[in-house]
Amino acid sequence: MNKSLIFYNRIGFITLLTREIHRFMKVPVQTVLAPLISNMLYLAIFGGMLQTRQVGIDGVNYLHFLVPGLATMGAIFASFQNPAFSIISQKFQNTIQDLNSYPISNIEKILAFIFGGMFRGVLVGLLTYAATMFFVGYEIEYPLFFLLGLTATSFVFASIGLIAGLVLDNFEKMNFVLAIIITPLTYLGGVFFEVSKLPGLLSSIKYINPIYPLVNITRYAYIGVCEGNIYIHIFITTALVISSFLIAAYIFKKGIGIKTM
């Protein structure tokens, strides 16, 4: 493909990206504060209830175990919702066809949506960490790696959110995906407990759960240990970043959800 057709309109790309950020920043209570409060409640309730039980990694304080899980979970939901909500609300408002009228390349449009979601995901993840500092301290074993873990998580789920926005045509279906697919996968991905400690088949879900390596990367960066092999988690996460982006790009290029065939 001609290079100029990949990065065609820098100002257009930045405008679209800032719109995606501007959109959620206009309603911060709903988009940033609410997930932050939820995470703090999880910390208070689960932290209090499960601290004495051996559900985390042996030898690690449970609150330290929980914080990276909560940060990852916040990033997952926020990054998914941003592009999915944006695209579906444009369908709802009948403005989705505007996207086709801009002289911005497909790659620029896709990246604007993904980066917008990624920004919100990382923001919620970092704010969760910042809020928990008062209860568990501020130490992070590998700070840059922690940021990278949140970024990769947010990238993957912003891509999935973009796919959902394109494929789904209403908020009901989006909420169904969140409630029936993403939430259970998050709970079974090791946010609140070590997945290996689950009984029987439930513990095997980790092998097909994309959230499992993402949580463990962030956890490794935060406390220096994680469930399973960190190199395998990095490898799978890299594969998830690439494949989620490629699928989103394919669906967008096909015009699914934004063009009439």
Binding site: N9, G12, Q93, N94, Q97, N100, S101, Y102, P103, S105
Partner: protein
């Protein structure tokens, strides 16, 4: 300026053939009306040009650029005012227009945005959120939005639907000025008098095909060979008394008025026939057909 060559569109859903081998060449500076009934294919054609609908066959060239090969270049040349008054409820008029400029790669466009807002009587509402605007204001906002990048071609899909008469005339004035400044305009509308007032070319589309495409003047002249005459009498009429004028499709209106469709050259013949029957009339009105009559005539045939 805009060439549509053998364009067809069959929708995958329902296998509906919406456009059948459309050929249309719009020249620079034209103000073209695209007329047709609901479901005739007007909006499909516009959506093909806008890139919202994938055509099945054919070639579209906008400003010399092939839509399939240089799609992004074509976007800079056209501005589209959609039929739906959808809006992004989060932003104000000002924010939305600044963002719209940005999408087209324009960084500082404040001066032109001010100009547009002024011309469309939206300056006072520039800080209002789009959800707080009336239907007419939203229509004007959509026109401003379509023009922020100064497109050479403006396509308006029923821009005055649901707009009150006063505001409609304000929009007419704006469009006339815009056309005079050199913008090529394509307008779809259900208000035929709108097309008659504004446009210099009439394209009629029916069942996905173009069934008429002529300069308005020529179209009007062609059909002006036939006039409608109203012969007014001071007594009640019976249709049976006018069998001798059967070829002119006589109709009685308001009991005392006789309406006939007559070729201009036959006018004296009709008057002669009336006087031979000793039918004295009080008044005679000759009406030139309006574009609406011509449109209905073409559509019905």
């Amino acid at each position: 300026m805009l060439s549509i060559i053998n364009v067809s569109k069959t929708y995958q859903r329902g296998n509906k053939e919406a456009l059948k081998n459309i050929n249309l060449d719009i020249r620079e500076g034209e103000f073209t009306a695209l007329l047709g009934q609901n479901g005739a294919g007007k909006s499909t054609l516009i959506n093909v040009l806008a890139g919202n609908v994938k055509k099945t066959e054919g070639v579209v060239k906008i400003g010399g650029y092939n839509l399939d090969k240089n799609e992004l270049e074509t976007k800079k040349i056209i501005g589209i005012v959609p039929q739906d008054t959808g809006y992004d409820f989060v932003f104000t008029i000002d924010e939305a227009l600044k963002k719209q400029s940005g999408y087209f790669g324009i960084k500082n466009n404040k001066e032109y945005i001010d100009e547009l807002l002024e011309a469309l009587y939206l300056t006072e509402k520039r800080s209002a959120r789009l959800r707080d605007l009336s239907g007419g204001m939203r229509r004007r906002f959509l026109i401003a939005k379509a023009l922020v990048h100064k497109p050479k071609i403006l396509i308006l899909d029923e821009p005055t639907a649901g707009v009150d008469i006063e505001m409609r005339h304000t929009l007419y004035e704006f469009l006339i000025k815009l056309h005079q400044s050199g913008t090529t305009i394509i307008l779809t509308t259900h208000y035929i008098e709108e097309a008659e007032k504004l446009c210099n070319r009439i394209v009629i589309i029916d069942g996905g095909r173009i069934i008429a495409d002529e300069p308005k003047k020529e179209l009007m002249e062609t059909f002006s060979k036939e006039v409608i005459i109203e012969v007014q009498f001071d007594y009640e009429l019976k249709l049976a008394d006018f069998e001798f004028l059967q070829e002119y499709q006589p109709k009685i209106e308001e009991k005392t008025n006789l309406k006939l469709k007559v070729l201009k050259k036959d006018l004296s013949k009709v008057l002669q026939k009336l006087s031979q029957k000793n039918m004295e009339f009080t008044n005679l009105v000759v009406e030139k057909p309006k574009l609406e009559d011509i449109y209905l005539n073409i559509i019905n045939h």
